[in-house]
Symmetry: C2
Subunit: 195 residues, 2 copies
């Protein structure tokens, strides 16, 4: 039953992808390894041929998602990197709210990652940096330090809006939070709005 190296690598990747989706949907603690492996089309016993432990997988998922530009991974095609507006709109759309499986890790797993081990937190900290950099890069009309300040504020507003909108049992309220935050975040690019 041994598989070729290529196949084994594909399997590992399939497990990481399945975990990335299941963790975001159900939470890390609430996701069992057996379910996870079944979602990847395998039985649970083989898990430890690929990972040292569940914690190890969590860290791998964080790394993988980092490579994927996590906060925008729910989009079929990532928005043109030249467009600050497109990034903000893609993040704060109802579609993102309804699809945590492929959505921003900060919003779905933020509080769980805050309790994770040092290695995982450090990987995700890098991801936060990267997200802020992505936004700051679109604000080149400002001096670098101010672009970064504005980008950081926009990131906070976006993540907070998604967390709050996902709690809302009232869809109208959820959408009003998202559209309000969208308008606010977009103002980061407006020179006559201080930030």
């Amino acid at each position: 039953m041994r598989k070729s190296k290529t196949e084994a690598a594909k399997t590992r990747e399939r497990i990481v992808q399945a975990a990335a989706a299941e963790f975001r949907e159900k939470g890390i603690v609430a996701t069992g390894l057996a379910d996870l492996m079944a979602a990847a089309g395998l039985t649970h016993g083989g898990f430890y041929k690929h990972f040292k432990s569940k914690d190890d997988l969590v860290c791998e998922v964080a790394k993988q998602v980092l490579a994927d530009a996590a906060p925008l991974s729910h989009c079929d095609q990532p928005p043109c990197p030249e467009q600050f507006e497109a990034i903000v709109a893609a993040y704060l759309c109802p579609n993102h709210r309804e699809n945590p499986r492929s959505g921003c890790v900060f919003a779905t797993l933020g509080s769980e990652i805050a309790r994770a081990n040092a290695q995982t937190r450090s990987v995700v900290t890098g991801e936060i940096e990267k997200f802020i950099d992505l936004l700051a890069g679109q604000l080149s009309c400002f001096p670098p330090a101010e672009a970064r300040r504005r980008a950081t504020t926009a990131a906070c507003t976006m993540v907070g809006a998604m967390v709050l909108a996902r709690i809302c049992s009232d869809a109208t309220m959820a959408e009003s939070i998202l559209s309000n935050a969208k308008a606010a975040a977009l103002r980061a690019k407006c020179p006559d709005s201080p930030a």
Copy 2:
């Protein structure tokens, strides 16, 4: 071993308080009922004399925290309700970041509550409303609709900043996120800053 009605009510309250702290520190799913009851000074068997199920307790915790003005409960004394600045500063201080046990439920349990049952979500949705109302009430220099818009944005920025700052393994970065968000949220009260 029967206790008086007064004592029983105090016990129930003690369980809810212990749960509110443990849930925020460890997460809801990761907190066991036996540990919880021990933290309240009881054995686990008595739990069901007070609650129908763990889900029932979660909902009770949400209600209790609602009554406590959750997002600011980490303060020894809640800031003067006249001061928008005091609320924002109290929320976005390093002390809050370091004390999830008594901190804002949106930041500690947001993603878990988004996965909770309808009743719990609806209770916490009311809490979001209440938090936004609290902030909007301090922005009476603006017309009501604009005060609410500004308050909603500030709430999103504050919650998102706390979520991201708690992930950070780098304390300097965490504090820069908090202080940046503080400056941004305070701008909500500034009439020459659009919102």
